[in-house]
């Protein structure tokens, strides 16, 4: 899965597209892994831009949970931004909005995670 990474100083924005379900979640997990390794204190921050994600099933949510646990263990910062309305509802119903850092837009995610990245994002 191509996550179309874009770097803003210390923050990487990843943009998965399509459905994250049993057919694709393993690819998503593998594609995400190298970025999560670097999602640590003093290294990168990661924002997942979900604008292109139409659907996520429990197995996809589990990948996000594991990523979030890894980020926390490494004292890194992971944000998920710009959920489509249906995906936002799936996050709410599964209570993932209570355990993950969810932002209305990539810009708001960057604003929270890294002011330096936000400045570059706004300038771009």
């Amino acid at each position: 899965m191509d996550l179309r990474p874009k770097r803003y100083v210390d923050t990487v924005v990843l943009s998965p597209v399509g459905r994250i379900d049993h057919a694709t979640s393993e690819d998503f997990k593998i594609a995400l892994a190298p970025y999560m390794t670097r999602c640590a204190e003093g290294q990168d921050r990661v924002v997942l831009d979900f604008a292109g994600v139409e659907y996520i099933s429990s197995v996809g949510l589990r990948v996000l949970m594991l990523a979030s646990k890894q980020a926390k263990a490494q004292r890194g910062s992971l944000g998920i931004a710009a959920l489509q309305p249906a995906v936002r509802e799936i996050f709410d119903i599964s209570r993932f909005t209570m355990v993950l850092d969810v932002f209305p837009s990539v810009r708001e995610g960057l604003a929270r995670l890294s002011p330096k990245a936000l400045a570059t994002f706004d300038a771009a």
Partner: protein, 324 residues
Amino acid sequence: MPPDGRLTVKFWGTRGSIPVAMTSAEVRRKLIAALTRASGRKLETPEQAAAFLDRELDFAGSRTFGGNSSCVEIVTDRRDYVLCDLGSGARVFGNEVLGTRDASGQRFHAFMSHPHWDHIMGFPFFMPAYQAGNHIKIYGCHADLEEAFRGQHAAPCFPVDFSRLSATIEFVRLEPDREYEIAGLRVRPKLQRHGGDSYGYRFQAGDKVVVYSTDAEHKQDDLTEIKAFAEFFRDADLVIFDSQYSLAEATSIKEDWGHSSNVVGLELCQMAHAKRLCLYHHEPVSDDERIAALLAETRRLEEITRTDRRVEILAAYDGMEIAL
């Protein structure tokens, strides 16, 4: 069983982990809300009042999901009684039997998911067990099932020893993934992920299928297991499913605690083309509003994730009956 035979499923206990009761404060809160809503209405007869409740109040406003622990009855066209689990709901069921049929000469078949306390605790209060002439068969896949039943009757936990129960009580060990013909039903047990193991049961009579699957955790990234459960639920008319936790809890702080979620239940039913998903083994902390909200959310999730087939979503309550 004739091929057009119908099945009815009756829920006697639907709460997970431990029985609960509505508190005085909760009853009062419901009454205040209902009476406020009723002000100025002409409610002079019980019929008018009942019609008002049905029309104007939602489930949580006028009723309760109840608090007895696991016990479900499957009613076939035979005289024998068929039950899943003997939690505290079995006490209410037993009293109902005594009230409607002869106290003696009844036959019961109970299929046990596992011997955790909330699933066996109704048995010491199951009055038909104290009546000579009744025949009770307890089925399960656990080697220590009988020991668990005898243990909860033993001193110092209970005053009447198991050996003093007057009914004829038989324990029958079943093997998972084998099909049995019991009490007019085809029955297949399946091993489930739970502390000390639990077993689900797939019941079939004619073309009707009911799956009883409680106290089961599902690992979403174990595709082999997910597919096996979708097969176990295949084309079921009703799947009774442990949805005690939210998906977020089940994949984080309560991972490996042995329970599942509404989200995973729906996904499995969608994969299996099951017709109805019944949320079951409700979290004891949840009040009626919370369970009602869980039901509404699960219906909404079904709506936004529906492909070609619809899955009807229900939330079990003590006293609920579903005719299939």
